[in-house]
């Protein structure tokens, strides 16, 4: 594989950049693979990469209905954080933070990981207490957390509304300085390029139409480009999880909803980190291009449409305006939607299933992008070793029936409220 560097850039400049190697091939599916990963998004690509790299399983296919990086990995707001209170979520995502920190070097692809910090704002004493508790839990798990008072927040985001008349005054906030953002497409492309180089077949425009399950064991899958034999199948299909589960006669604790995001026109740098509003559901960061990247609530009803409705955008931005009045002067550049696999407790599932050889990776709710590396890493381990790793030992499917929920937000089973 051609290594990307300043020297290769200069060398290729002499031939007008016409002679770069393709970053990944476009293979025809073989009749049999050791492992088939369904879903060529961030998590599927990362899983295939770590299967090859950590477990030396290279006869792997990624089956993608559309094109790689065309789903949620290209639709998210690129926030990376590990500011969780529960041990299982905190450990899992902090391991992921370590992978993020080294990812550009590891993949030889600049994923533009930029640890610029995240601030969750508090708007009452009770919320400050809750954040102090969460911050302490984070620190016990080795994650950096800083409780900020009103003045400290004002130094960091002076453009927020600190006037006396506001309905939800800023009391302070909880900051994770090591959190940040990355370039989402680069994550998909970086993993794809390395996985392809190690022998993984990335098969795009290929739809899974069915599964061959004999005596409770996976024997293969049926696709729009022919049948493929395999003993191990990993599902990494996020918003399409319920559709494939139906083909397997499985019912899951997952509901599929549409989540919208939007960006404004680009403006000069004014916000260097990620900020979340604590009195509504609204988060904002500024991209390297200068656009304000914003998101918030789900549309609030089951949906497979990768688009939403305007009332939700209006509702989310009402929260945004309450926090940052300057937003009212900006034009909206575009809005878009992605479909979320909303789990019933708000935490993901990475596990084996009752079908031998079928592995499940789903339930990412709002926050799949930040977990892309660690999700792939633990899912690869689960598939290769046929057992869960310690890091995903609490992200099991049976936690709903046993009552060991990871209800980080304590919102219950109304996924559309969360």
């Amino acid at each position: 594989m051609q290594k990307y560097s300043v020297f290769s850039l200069i060398k290729n400049a002499f031939s007008n950049h016409q002679n770069w190697e393709v970053a990944w091939k476009d293979p025809t599916p073989k009749s049999e693979y050791d492992v088939v990963i369904i879903g060529g998004g961030g998590h599927g690509l990362a899983t295939a990469y770590y299967l090859a790299k950590e477990h030396n399983i290279r006869n792997v296919a990624i089956i993608e209905k559309g094109w790689i990086g065309g789903g949620n990995v290209g639709r998210n707001t690129t926030i990376i954080r590990s500011n969780f209170m529960y041990d299982a979520n905190a450990r899992f995502n902090e391991f992921g933070m370590d992978l993020w920190r080294n990812l550009s070097q590891e993949l030889n692809f600049n994923v533009m990981f930029s640890p610029r910090g995240i601030i969750n704002l508090a708007h009452s004493d009770a919320q400050m207490n809750a954040y102090a508790r969460r911050g302490n839990s984070m620190r016990l798990n080795g994650i950096d957390a800083k409780l900020l008072d009103r003045e400290e927040v004002k130094k960091l985001i002076p453009m927020a509304d600190f006037s006396d008349e506001v309905r939800f005054p800023i009391f302070g906030g909880l900051m994770q300085p090591s959190a940040g953002t990355a370039r989402h497409d680069a994550v998909a492309w970086g993993y794809a390029r390395q996985a392809d180089d190690m022998g993984v077949d990335i098969i795009q425009h290929c739809e899974v139409t069915g599964f061959d399950v004999v005596n409770g064991k996976i024997k293969g899958i049926r696709t729009s480009r022919g049948d493929i034999k395999t003993k191990k199948v990993g599902l990494c299909v996020a918003g399409s999880t319920n559709i494939l589960a139906e083909k397997l006669n499985m019912t899951l604790p997952i509901e599929t909803h549409v989540l919208q995001a939007c960006v404004s026109e680009p403006v000069k740098p004014l916000l260097d980190g990620v900020v979340t509003f604590g009195a509504g559901h609204f988060y904002i960061s500024q991209s390297d291009k200068g656009e304000m990247v914003m998101g918030g609530d789900l549309d609030g009803y089951n949906s497979y449409a990768q688009r939403g409705n305007l009332p939700t955008i209006q509702h989310v931005l009402t929260g945004g305006l309450a926090l940052f009045p300057f937003l009212s002067r900006l034009k909206m550049l575009r809005t878009w939607g992605g479909i979320m696999d909303m789990s019933m407790d708000g935490s993901p599932i990475i596990d084996k299933t009752h079908i031998e050889g079928l592995y499940l990776n789903c339930g990412w709710c709002y926050g799949g992008f930040k977990s892309t590396p660690v999700s792939g890493w633990t899912f690869a381990h689960t598939i290769a070793q046929d057992q869960v790793h310690e890091l995903n030992s609490e992200l099991r499917l049976n936690r709903f029936s046993t009552g060991h929920l990871l209800d980080e937000k304590g919102l219950g089973t109304k996924t559309w409220i969360g």
Binding site: P253, I254, N302, P311, S401, T413
Partner: protein, 89 residues
């Protein structure tokens, strides 16, 4: 914007309603022995189909009645609405 025909009030904007989830899920009968699996299915397990979906909505900023709506989850088209005591087929 979705427009939902409330069986009591007529066609109204989505903003007047709040969502209540899958209307086909049945709560286990209260005076009978209920297995953990039945509870699990009732509380957590959802089909979440792509296509026609029968769901509950409440006309929260109107008559405050719960209603049933049959809607396509892929296109957002609404086919039928009914009172919560009525069946949608």
């Amino acid at each position: 914007m979705l427009y939902i025909k409330c069986p009591y009030c007529g066609l109204r904007a989505q903003k007047e309603f709040s969502y209540g989830g899958d209307a086909t899920v049945k709560r286990p009968n209260i005076n009978e022995e209920v297995s953990s699996e039945d509870w699990d299915n009732f509380v957590y397990m959802r089909k979440s189909p792509r296509g026609k979906h029968i769901e509950l909505w409440q006309h929260i900023a109107g008559c405050r009645q719960w209603i049933k709506v049959q809607r396509d989850t892929a296109t957002h088209e609404i086919f039928q609405t009914a009172k919560v005591t009525e069946e949608i087929r």
